[in-house]
Amino acid sequence: MSNFKKLVIEPLRKTNPVTVLVLGICSCLAVTAQLKPALVMGASVTVVTALSNFIISLLRKGIPSRIRIIVQLVVVAALVILIDQFLKAFAYDVSKQLSVYVGLIITNCIIMGRLEAFALSHGPWESFLDGLGNGLGYSLILVVVAFFRELLGSGTLLGYQVIPQSFYEAGYMNNGLMILPPMALIIVGVIIWIQRTRHPEMQENQN
């Protein structure tokens, strides 16, 4: 239980791949203009990190270390293509929205990072949990960022109008800046700021 907690819960907070390790930022800004693609991207990355961690961990004793990066890439790429094919077959709308980004899951630094740092030196089950935790940690940040960007940028959540019409009549306007990618970085920055203020031990030594 404590192992489970450590591997799955910790990446949501103190070892969060996005806000603490600062990995996976590129896709974080690409798919967070709306909540729905963020949720799907988060789920896809979670599945890929968990499964690729699991598979690489199973293979770890047989992988020749000189070609280990290539082997990791092949496994991740195969998984990503499978997920892409499944989305195209069973969730066409979503796959259209993600079209470019699904292929980019493979270049997500979190996946390769966890494979190198964890899966190559730990057992399959632990690796699976670690991948799951890191995927969820990534999804959490994605969803928080997408929540604010969609709410403030389009006045909707998951495509449903949230901000009432009377607000617009009173002069309220959607903030077009929120839809543009740089705002994702600013929101991530704010999350990191809040997190570090609440956990001073995370701050680097000033000197």
């Binding site: 203009a33 709306q34 004793k61 047989g62 992988i63 020749p64 270390s65 000189r66 070609i67 290539i70 082997v71 092949v74 496994v75 195969a78 293509i81 499978l82 094919q85 499944f86 195209k88 077959a89 069973f90 066409y92 709308d93 079209s99 470019v100 940028g153 077009g176 839809i179 543009l180």
Partner: protein
């Protein structure tokens, strides 16, 4: 394991087996999922055609049914605007009156496409656009109702001639907007003979 896992022979063997396994797996998945993906693509096309023609409440579940109900004819036109099996210009007729024609063009980052529906008097009934990789929130806005609805009711003729259509571009997405304009103009140019014979004199005013 007795074998040295860093010997060249082992590395070659390992890489070969891995690639073969992955290739077989991916091929199997691609073959198995192909029918589902094709259905989705076909449905999407039908949804876009019906939406352009102004038919409401079309979704993936009822697209095939509604398409059967509304699409009265579909054929190919040659460059003289006449139906011809060897023609290159597809045309979909919805409810006998509305001609829906597909468009293809270039956006900023990749291809854009769409359908435009025109009635017998040369008025645009509706248009919709799609893109592969335009920036979400900028060029990607061409897929929104807000952008697409402005085409409704526009006339493709000016003084009896097929003329370029004017519309409001998207702020911050000049290249994509130009791409849309070019796409519409080029398409109408190609279908010019068809629309000219459709109603040669009605629009003259």
């Amino acid at each position: 394991m007795k074998k040295d896992i860093n010997s060249n022979g082992y590395i070659f063997l390992y890489a070969t087996i891995l690639i073969v396994v992955v290739a077989v797996l991916l091929t199997a998945a691609a073959i198995w999922l192909k029918p589902f993906q094709d259905t989705n693509k076909q449905n999407e096309k039908r949804i876009n055609i019906l939406r352009a023609a102004g038919i409401a409440n079309v979704n993936a579940d009822n697209a095939a049914e509604l398409y059967k109900l509304h699409c009265t004819d579909e054929f190919l036109l040659d460059e003289n605007g006449r139906p011809n099996n060897n023609g290159t210009l597809p045309l979909f007729v919805i409810d006998r009156e509305i001609s829906v024609i597909p468009m293809k063009g270039k956006g900023l980052w990749g291809p854009i496409s769409g359908f435009i529906a025109i009635d017998t008097k040369g008025n645009i009934v509706g248009a919709n656009f799609d893109h592969e990789s335009e920036t979400p929130g900028l060029g990607g806005e061409i897929t929104t109702e807000k952008f697409q609805s402005q085409f409704k009711g526009k006339q493709i003729r000016k003084n009896g001639q097929i003329a370029p259509i004017e519309f409001d571009a998207i702020t911050g997405a000049t290249k994509t907007s130009n791409g849309v304009k070019e796409m519409i103009d080029n398409t109408l140019e190609k279908y010019k003979p068809f629309f000219e014979q459709l109603q040669p004199s009605d629009a003259m005013k």
